[in-house]
C-alpha cells in the first residue's frame, strides 16, 4: 500500500455503550493494517431508530454526520450495519430529492454545516475487502484456525435494498465468507444465513424477535457451526445478550456463541484476547483452536 487509507470512524450509539469490544477489536485490527482512523466527536445518532416515526428527522440525523465528515474531506467507515444502511439510505434520498437536501441543509446551516454528498460510506467489512484488500490482509494473518466452522450472519441493512447499499450480491453474497475464510475457518452454508437477527422488534414484540433469533441459532447449529460470526452491534447484542436471556428464560436449550468478525480476524492476526475484548462477550466463546 502506497497511500495510507484514512476514514472517519462512525461508531453509532450501541457500540460505545454496549459492545465496546467491537470498537477495541476493530481499532486494533485496523491499526495493524495501517489504516488511519479519525474520530469525530460531534457525530450523532445515525437516525435509524427514528425512521419508524419521522422520516425527515431521520434524514437530518444522517445528513449531519455526513456533513461533518465531508467538512474534513473524509470517507466514513461504520461498524454497525444499521448505521451503514441509514447513512447510505439518507444519502440516496438526498441525491434523488434535492428539495429534501435543501431542507436538511437549511437546518444544518445553523451549525455552519453543509451536505453535498461528496463522500463514500463504507462498512468495516467492505473497507477490508475492497479498500485494504484480501492480499494485504493475508500478509498480516499469522495463525490459522483449523476445523473451525463459522456461520456468518450478514445483517440485513447492509445487504438490502441492494440497489442502494451496493454492499454485496444480495442473493449470494461472498465478501463476508471470503474474509472469514482468510483465517482458515470454514464459512458454512446454512439456510437462514441472510435472514434477520430479530433485533429491530426487540422491545416491540419480544416473542417475534426471539423466535427469529431462535430459528437462526437452531439452523446454524444444525448446519454444524461452532460460532456465529457478526459484524453489527444490533445483531451481536441479539445473538449474545439476548441469546443469554433466552437461555435463562429457557426459550432455548442449546447455545451457539457469537463472535464479532474483528475478534475472529484479530485472533488470527495474533492480537491478544484482552485487546479484542473476548471476555466481554456475554456468552463465553471458550478457546478457539489456533495453529501457527
Amino acid at each position: 500500500m502506497n497511500k495510507m487509507i484514512k476514514y472517519a470512524l462512525f461508531l453509532g450509539c450501541n457500540i460505545p455503550a454496549r459492545v465496546q469490544q467491537y470498537e477495541t477489536s476493530a481499532r486494533s485490527v485496523l491499526g495493524r493494517l495501517d489504516v488511519d482512523i479519525k474520530d469525530i466527536k460531534e457525530f450523532n445518532c445515525c437516525g435509524y431508530p427514528l425512521r419508524n416515526s419521522d422520516f425527515k428527522t431521520f434524514v437530518l440525523f444522517s445528513a449531519r454526520n455526513l456533513a461533518l465528515a465531508e467538512k474534513l474531506g473524509l470517507n466514513i467507515i461504520t461498524l454497525c450495519k444499521c448505521c451503514y444502511g441509514s447513512l447510505k439510505m439518507a444519502k440516496h434520498h438526498m441525491k434523488k430529492n434535492s428539495f429534501l437536501k435543501d431542507e436538511v441543509n437549511e437546518t444544518l446551516a445553523k451549525e455552519e454545516l453543509e451536505y453535498n454528498g461528496n463522500l463514500e460510506i463504507k462498512h468495516f467489512l467492505s473497507a477490508l475487502y475492497s479498500d485494504i484488500g484480501i492480499n494485504t490482509l493475508k500478509e498480516k494473518i499469522t495463525s490459522n484456525f483449523k476445523n473451525l466452522k463459522i456461520a456468518v450472519h450478514h445483517g440485513c441493512h447492509a445487504l438490502r435494498p441492494s440497489n442502494i447499499m451496493q454492499f454485496d450480491d444480495p442473493i449470494a453474497p461472498v465478501i463476508f465468507d471470503q474474509l472469514v475464510e482468510l483465517t482458515g475457518a470454514k464459512s458454512i452454508d446454512w439456510s437462514l444465513k441472510l435472514e434477520c437477527c430479530g433485533a429491530p422488534v426487540l422491545g416491540i414484540n419480544d416473542d417475534l424477535s426471539m423466535n427469529l433469533t431462535k430459528r437462526k441459532l437452531i439452523d446454524g447449529k444444525q448446519a454444524g457451526a461452532d460460532y456465529l460470526c457478526t459484524a453489527c452491534p444490533w445483531c451481536h447484542l441479539q445473538f449474545d445478550s439476548v441469546q443469554k436471556m433466552m437461555l435463562e428464560q429457557r426459550r432455548l436449550n442449546n447455545h451457539l456463541p457469537a463472535i464479532l468478525f474483528p475478534q475472529l480476524l484479530g485472533l488470527a492476526m495474533g492480537i491478544d484476547k484482552q485487546t479484542l475484548g473476548i471476555n466481554m462477550n456475554q456468552i463465553n466463546i471458550g478457546e478457539l483452536k489456533i495453529e501457527n
Binding site: 453509532g12 450509539c13 450501541n14 460505545p16 455503550a17 454496549r18 466527536k41 450523532n44 445518532c45 435509524y48 431508530p49 427514528l50 425512521r51 419508524n52 416515526s53 419521522d54 422520516f55 425527515k56 428527522t57 437530518l60 440525523f61 449531519r64 444499521c82 434520498h93 434523488k96 430529492n97 437546518t107 445553523k110 451549525e111 440485513c156 441493512h157 445487504l159 438490502r160 435494498p161 441492494s162 444480495p170 441472510l194 435472514e195 434477520c196 430479530g198 433485533a199 429491530p200 422488534v201 426487540l202 422491545g203 416491540i204 414484540n205 419480544d206 417475534l208 424477535s209 423466535n211 427469529l212 430459528r215 444490533w234 447484542l237 445478550s241 439476548v242 436471556m245 435463562e248
Partner: protein
Amino acid sequence: MLFTVIFYTSLFVFLLGLIYKVSTWFSLEIGVASKNFTISERISAAARGILGVIFSPKILILVKVFILDVVLQRRILKEDFLRWIMHMLIFTGFMMLLLMHAFDSFITTPLFDEYYSTLNPFLFLRNFFGIMVLAGLMIAVYRRFILKVPRLRTSPMDYYAIIILTVIMISGILLEGIKITSYTEFRNMVKNYSALDEEEEILALEKLWVKDFGLVSPNVKDPIDPTIIPLSKELHNMHCADCHSSTEWAIIGYPAARLLKPIALRLDRLGCVNAFWYIHFLACFIGLAYLPFSKMFHVIASPVSLLANAVMDKDKSFPANIATRQAMELDACTHCGTCSLTCSVAVAFDKTGNLNILPSEKLVFLKTYASGKDLKKNELKAIQEGIYLCTNCDRCTVVCPVGINLRELWFNVREDLIQKGNPIPLVLSPFSFYRGLNQQKLESDNYSNPISIIKDAIADKCELMKNPDEVISLTPINKKFKEKVDLSYQATTYSCCFSCQNCSTVCPVVGNYENPQEALGLLPHQIMRSVGLGLKDLAFGSKMLWDCVTCYQCQEHCPQGVKVTDILYELKNLAIKESFNNE
C-alpha cells in the same frame, strides 16, 4: 448589632435549607426504583454504605477522586479548556476569598499573627482572588451571551448565579475603592488608631495619604509642598505603616479608588462607605441564605455526586442507596449543558423544538417533577417523547462534569413516565431495543403495557379493522390518503403491485406464524393493495406494520419494483402522525 442579627439569620436559613435539601435526598421518590423504600431504610442504608466505604480500601478511590475531580476538576478539563479556566477562576478565587477574607476572624487571624486585612500579602491576595473571580465571571457571561455555546440554555437560576456573584464582587471592590478615598474613614482611623491630635500633624499625614494612598481630602489641594513629605513619612511610619501596606497593592481596589476620585468627596459625604458595606454584606448573606435553594447548592451536592458515583455500583450497592443518590444527583446538576452538547439525539430538538429531548433540560424537568408536580396532558406527551427519544449511548453519563449517572437515572425515570396509561408512539420504534434488552430488570407485570396500549390506540382508530365482515366500498377512493404516501420519492411504486405475494412469501415475520393473518392482520402484499385502493384503515390497522423487522427481503424480491419496506416505513410515519399529532 444589625450585622450580627442578619448574619446569624442568614446562617440559620442556610443551615435549615441545607438540612431540608439533604433530607429530600432521602425522601424524594424518583422513578420506579425508589418506591420500595421508606425514609428510615434509606437513611440507614446510606449510613451503612458510607461507613462501609470509609473503612475499606475504597477510601483511596475517594481521596483520588476528591483531588482530581473535585479540586482539580479533571472532568471539566477533558471537555472544554475555556470552561475549565472559567470554573477554576471562580472556584479557587471565591474559595480563597471565603476562607481568607470572609472568615478571617476564624481562619486567617489564628493562622497568621501579623494578619491585618490592609497589610500585604493579604491586601494584595484579596484583590488578586477578586480579579480571578471577576475574570471567571466575564468568561461565563461571554460563553452564555456572546459565544452562545450550542445548546447551552440559560435558565433563571443561571442568571441568579451570575448576578449574585457579580454583585458580591463588584460591591466588594467598590467598597474597598471608596474606603481608600474616604476622608471620613481617614479621620476615624486617625482618631482611633493613632495618638495624633495636633491638626498640623494630621494634615501632614493627610497630604502623604492623598499623594500616595489614594485618599481624597477636602483640605489638601494639588500641588503638595514636597518639603512636608519627610515629616509626613515619619508620622506615617510611626502611626500607620504597621497595619497599612501601600494601597496600590490593592490591584483592583486602588484603580477603583482612582476612578471614583472626582466624585469621592460627594460619595463620602453621602455615606457611601456604609452603603456599599451594606450592599456587600447583604449580597453575601443573601447568597448564603439562598444557597441551598439555588444553583450554587452544587458546591455541596456536586462533590457528593462525584464521590458517591466513584464508589457506587448499580449491581453491588444497596438499591436504597441508588434511590438516594438519584435524588441527590438532581441537586448536583449545575445545568452546564455538557450532556446536551454531546447528546446523540440532540439534533431532534433542532427539528421538533421539544426541549425535553436535551438531557440537561430533562434534568430541569425532573427537579420539578420529583417534587410532586402534576403534569398537563401536553407536558406529559413532551416529556414522554423526550425521555424515550434516547439511544442510550451513555455519552451524557460519560461527560457529566459532576459524575451524575444519567444512564441509570433515565432508565429509572423512563419506566415511571411511560407507565401512565396513555399511548406513546415512539414505543413502536427501535428506541425500544434497550428496554427489551433490559427487561429482566423491569417489573414483568406491566412490562408490555406501553407496547399494547399504543398498538391498540392505533388499531382503535381503524374502523374497518374492527369489522372484518363489513363489505368495503371501493369508491370513492381516499385520494387524499394516497397522496400523503409520498415522503420518499419512491413511495408511489405501490401502484405497480399485482399481488403476486412474493413479498409475503419471503417475509420472515409472516413465516414466523402458523396463521399469519390472525397474528398480523394484513400481510405485506395486502397492505400494498390497500394503499393502492386508498383503504387507509386497512393500511394503518395491521399489526404487520409494527412487527415489520425492516429486513428488506420483500422489497428485494418484488418483481415489480415495489418499494415494499420503504412504503411500510412511510405508513408507520403516517399512522403515527395522523393518529396522534393532531391531538
